[in-house]
Amino acid sequence: MISLQKYLKQSATYKVFSHFMLLFSDFLDTVGKIAQIGYHVLKCILRGEIDKKELITQCDRFGVSSLPITLSIVGMTSIIVASQVAHEMVKQGGSGFVGLLMTILIVREVGAIMSGFAITSMIGSSLASELATMRVTEQVDAIDVLGVDSIRYLFVPRVLSGMIMMPFVVIVASVVGVLLGAVTSDLFAGLTYRAYFDSAWLGLYMKDLGVCLLKAMTFGATISLISCTCGYFASGGAKGVGIATTKAVVWSFIAIVVWDMVFAILFFF
C-alpha cells in the first residue's frame, strides 16, 4: 500500500509547490548575493579604490560600443509610436500635442527603458558570460589566491561605468528618438517640424530630465551589478556560463521594470 508521504510526493500539487519553493529560495539567494556584493562595491567606490584605466575601458565598452544598437532600438520604437499616434491625433484635431506627447513619452519612459533593454541584451549578457567564463576557468580563484580583492577588481569598474555611461546613452537615444518622432510625424501625418517642436517643449520640465538621468544611472548600475553577480557565482562549465547569462538577462529585465515602476510611483504619482 502506498504511504501518504509517498502519495503526496507524487502528486502534481506537491511537485508544483516544491518547484515554486526552489525558485523562491533561488530568488532569495540571488537577492542576498546582489545586496552583499552591491554593498562591497559601494564601500570600494566610497574609499576611492577605482582602477581608472580599467574604468575607461569599461566606459568605452558600456557606452560607446553599445550606442549603435541602443540608438537603433530607441529610434525604431519612436518611429513605431509616432506612426501610430501622430496620424490619429492630427485626425482628431490634436496636432498641437503630438510633439508634447512624444517628448514626454520618450524622455520619461521609452528612452531609458528601451536603452536599458538594449544594454542588458548587449552589455549585460557580455558581462555575465565574461565573468562566468572567468569563474569556471578558475581565473576568479586565481585573483583571490594572488591576494587581490576579486570583487573590487572585477565589479567596481564595471558597475561604475554603468552608472556613468548609461545617462549619456539615454540622453543621446532620447534626442534621436524625439528627432525621429518629428520625421515620422511629418511623413505619416503631414505634421510640420515647427508644429511638432513648438509643442515638444511644453510638457517637458527640469524634473523630467532630472528623473530621466537618475533613472538611467540606476538602470546602468543595476544592469552591471546583476549581470556581474550572476556571472561571478556561475558554476559547472559551459552549461553554467549559459545559465548565468540567461539569468543575468532575465533578472536585469525584471529589475529595470521594477525600478521604472518605483520611479513612476515616487516622482509622477
Binding site: 578558475e138 581565473q139 586565481a142 589566491v145 594572488l146 591576494g147 587581490v148 577588481y153
Partner: protein, 239 residues
C-alpha cells in the same frame, strides 16, 4: 612548520569530501597528495588557500604568501604574459605602491627567465602552448616569493617531455624559495621526481602516508591498487 592541517572536515551537500585529515609540510619540503579522481585532493588545496571554507578543523600556515598553480593554468586571457605575472604587484593593496614600473618589468623578466621563457612578455595566453601556459602560471605564482606553493595537477594533460620540465621546475623552485609545497597529482613520474613525502586520499581520508619509495613498494592494498592502477582492491571508483 609552514603548513599544518589538523582534523579538517569539509562537507558538500551532505557528502563528506574531506573527513578528518591531518598532516604537516615543512619549509623546503614537497608533499604529494595522490588518489583517484574525486578523492578530495584538489579540495584540500582550496581549503588551505582559503578559496572554500572548511566545516571544522584547523589550517595553520606561516605568515608569508600562499601561491597556487591551477590545473588549467587559469591565466587571465585578456592580459598579456607580463600583466599576468605582475598582476599581484599592480593590484594587491599592500604591493600596489611598492614597486615602480621599471622594477615590475625587471621582476617579470627575472621570473620568466626562472621558468625558461625569456622574451614572451607581450604574448597573450592564447598564443602559448599548454606547457608554456603552465610555466607562465608558475612565474605568476612565485612573483611574490611565496612561502607556500600549492600545485593542482601541474603535469595533467602535458606531453612526457613538458611534464619532466615542469617537474624539474617544481624541484628548482623549492630549492630557490625554500617554500613548503603541496603537489596534487596522480601521475607516478611527478610523485617520484618531485615529492619528499606522499599521502594518499580515499573517500576523504588519508589511507597511506610515507615516502615515494614506500609507495612504490606496494606494501598496503591501497598503494598496490594505486601503483598498479588496478580496478580490483579496496578503492572503488565512483560510478
Amino acid at each position: 612548520m609552514s603548513i599544518e592541517v589538523k582534523n579538517l572536515i569539509k562537507t558538500f551537500d551532505e557528502r563528506t569530501v574531506i573527513n578528518d585529515i591531518s598532516f604537516k609540510v615543512n619549509d623546503g619540503e614537497i608533499l604529494a597528495i595522490v588518489g583517484f579522481s574525486g578523492s578530495g585532493k584538489s579540495t584540500v588545496l582550496k581549503l588551505i588557500c582559503g578559496l572554500i571554507p572548511y566545516d571544522s578543523g584547523e589550517v595553520l600556515t606561516s605568515n608569508g604568501d600562499i601561491a597556487m598553480v591551477f590545473q588549467y593554468s587559469a591565466l587571465f586571457d585578456s592580459l598579456n604574459v607580463a600583466d599576468n605575472i605582475s598582476f599581484a604587484l599592480k593590484e594587491r593593496k599592500d604591493l600596489r605602491k611598492k614597486y615602480t614600473p621599471e622594477q615590475i618589468k625587471k621582476i617579470v623578466s627575472e621570473k620568466l627567465e626562472l621558468v625558461g621563457l625569456k622574451g614572451i612578455e607581450n604574448k597573450f595566453p592564447s598564443e602559448l602552448s599548454g606547457g608554456m601556459q603552465k610555466r607562465v602560471s608558475f612565474a605568476r605564482a612565485i612573483v611574490t616569493n611565496p612561502d607556500i606553493i600549492l600545485y593542482d595537477e601541474p603535469t595533467a594533460g602535458l606531453d612526457p617531455m613538458s611534464s619532466t620540465l615542469i617537474e624539474d621546475y617544481i624541484v628548482s623552485l623549492k630549492r630557490e624559495l625554500n617554500a613548503a609545497s603541496i603537489v596534487v597529482t596522480h601521475q607516478m613520474s611527478t610523485i617520484t621526481r618531485t615529492a619528499d613525502r606522499v599521502i594518499m586520499l580515499y573517500d576523504g581520508k588519508i589511507v597511506f602516508e610515507g615516502t615515494p619509495t614506500e609507495l612504490l613498494k606496494q606494501d598496503t592494498p591501497y598503494t598496490k591498487q594505486f601503483v598498479t592502477a588496478s580496478l580490483e582492491g579496496p578503492m572503488q571508483m565512483q560510478a
